[in-house]
């Protein structure tokens, strides 16, 4: 006789009730603390404090200390002038692809493979990813992550996942590549498809978050709220539509313990090296394609062809069309380009910036993530993921356009210096 997963769990529960005797015991402070952090009344506020700490550390480590404090100075003051000198005698198209705009005085605006490409990969994303995975590894080693998984288990069951799906989701906030890989820990194909689709569409990576944090700090909370609504709303719908099982799992929740430097270093290195070896080549490839599209004039042609959708359906200014298209290849630079266009005189409202950033987040996973998705999913699932994101872009774009028409956030957006 073959039992279903639920029947098996019922059987386990019946046997344990009949055979296990629970005596009275005095918990240690560690046990009691473990209990406090998984009970919703005290565990949710504690989780908010932990996530606040996570986020505050991330912003200060990646943004303030490394990117603004060191890398901007190194790349803008030394690297870009050096590149401009070395490539000074090269043909214009070579200069444009490798160094970018000859008049640019900073790597972010240059758009060359060796200027913007290297700066974004090393100067912006790498510190963000190191900060992110450092804290993540500490929380895992301390024993907090399994407790967070228990805490969100009920919520994630509503969308066909179980609590441990929080791990690939949070990993994806650093880089989607290790996030997609981490979905291998989920039990069924349905759960893996669900998790990969949701994190590929609704979870922005560290690169994007880093640039959003610098460009639209006041709107970032709203962007996350819009993405969270999509994550749970669409997750719930996909769970209803897609056939397959979403079984319960028995999770090992280890006691709290002191983290060890060796473990943290190993985890940090494994995950960061995945970004360096898998994602960075795609970041550079994206730069090459964007540069070629601009040089050949193909970008303008595509932008003018798609501008009815950009302006008519999404309600964005026509000038953002090229940035939105570049977002297929480089989401982070696309977000930054909108800031540069506004700084250069384009009129765009606060709500339009919000709309553009939300759409850039959901409308295509980065190239590296997409390549990994092809490896992890079969062609039917890939088509399902693509269909989800295409529908989502139009649904989100149209809804946000309609909300924008009510006049909300209609003041002109002024980019931060």
């Amino acid at each position: 006789m073959e039992l279903t997963v639920d029947q098996r769990w019922d059987l386990v529960e019946r046997i344990s009730k009949e055979t296990v005797e629970v005596g009275k015991y005095e918990p240690s402070l560690k046990d009691a603390l473990a209990d406090v952090t998984v009970r919703p009344a005290t565990g949710i506020p504690f989780a908010i404090a932990v996530i606040y700490g996570f986020w505050a550390f991330f912003c200060e480590f990646a943004g303030t200390l490394f990117t603004d404090g060191f890398f901007c100075k190194i790349f803008d003051g030394y690297w870009l002038p050096w590149l401009q000198g070395v490539f000074a005698g090269a043909p214009a198209w070579v200069f444009n692809i490798f160094v970018g705009d000859p008049l640019a005085d900073n790597c972010f605006e240059a758009f060359g493979v060796l200027s913007s490409g290297i700066f974004v990969a090393i100067g912006v994303v790498l510190p963000a990813i190191v900060a992110f995975y450092l804290i993540f590894a500490i929380l895992e080693d301390v024993g907090y992550m399994p407790r967070l998984a228990v805490l969100v288990d009920t919520l994630l069951h509503k969308i066909g996942l179980h609590g441990y799906a929080i791990v690939p989701t949070i990993l994806s906030l650093g880089c989607n590549v290790p996030g997609v890989t981490a979905t291998r820990s989920l039990e069924t194909r349905k759960q893996r498809f669900l998790a990969i689709t949701l994190l590929g569409v609704f979870v922005p990576c560290g690169a994007q978050i880093g640039i959003m944090e610098g460009m639209i700090p006041g709107l970032i909370g709203w962007v996350f709220l819009a993405l969270a609504i999509g994550y749970f709303g669409i997750g719930w719908i996909i769970n209803k539509i897609v056939p397959g099982e979403s079984p319960e799992i028995l999770m090992d929740v280890p006691p709290y313990q002191m983290p060890t430097a060796r473990n943290i270093w190993m985890k940090l290195w494994t995950r960061t090296s995945k970004f360096l070896t898998v994602a960075v080549p795609f970041v550079l490839l994206g730069c090459v394609i964007v540069a070629v599209l601009y040089i050949t004039g193909a970008m303008d042609a595509i932008a003018s062809g798609l501008s009815p959708v950009i302006t008519g359906v999404f309600g964005l200014p026509q000038d953002t069309a090229a940035a939105m298209i570049a977002g297929f290849l480089r989401k982070d630079l696309a977000v930054g380009t909108i800031g540069m266009l506004a700084a250069g005189g384009m009129t765009i409202t606060v709500f339009q910036v919000f709309t553009a950033v939300v759409l850039l987040s959901i409308y295509f996973p980065c190239l590296a993530t997409f390549a990994l998705m092809i490896k992890e999913l079969n062609w039917k699932e890939i088509l399902g993921t693509l269909a989800t994101l295409i529908v989502m872009v139009f649904v989100y774009g149209a809804i946000l356009h309609l909300i924008g028409l009510s006049g909300i956030g209609s003041s002109p957006w002024v980019p931060l210096e």
């Binding site: 402070l29 506020p45 404090a49 404090g69 060191f70």
Partner: protein
Amino acid sequence: MSNRAAKFGSIYFGIFGAIVLIFGIAGFVVMGAYGTEGVTWGPLEMSGMFFVWRAIILVSAGAMYLSSVCNFGDTRQLAKSVAASIMIWIVAGMWIWAGIAGSIPGGEEGGWFFPSAEELVGLWTAIPPAVFLALLSLAIIYPIRSRRKTA
């Protein structure tokens, strides 16, 4: 835990929990009145981008302290106060970390290492309530040590 430590914990964290709760609520009031610009009152500062989150954490921590004061000698109750203290330490610790991270390099346009002493002092003139509260919350060490001795 000794009776003395339990009694101390009940009284101290009852009063302290109320103070933490008041500061959390004050955070919401200031947020409503002044937005993220907030206010500076003497050495106290209530402002910043994550201001509202800090207020939520302080309100929750205050409520957790207050809910732990009945039967403070029980380990489960003590654990609530320890968790509340950790929450305050996270908020205070991140403020201190932000000050350190901001002062190591001199910003995008500044020098390479360490701003001038005046600038450095300027970073620390106004302090959020969580930093003061974190110092006062260190009293949690006494009941923890007392429990360890009697265990």
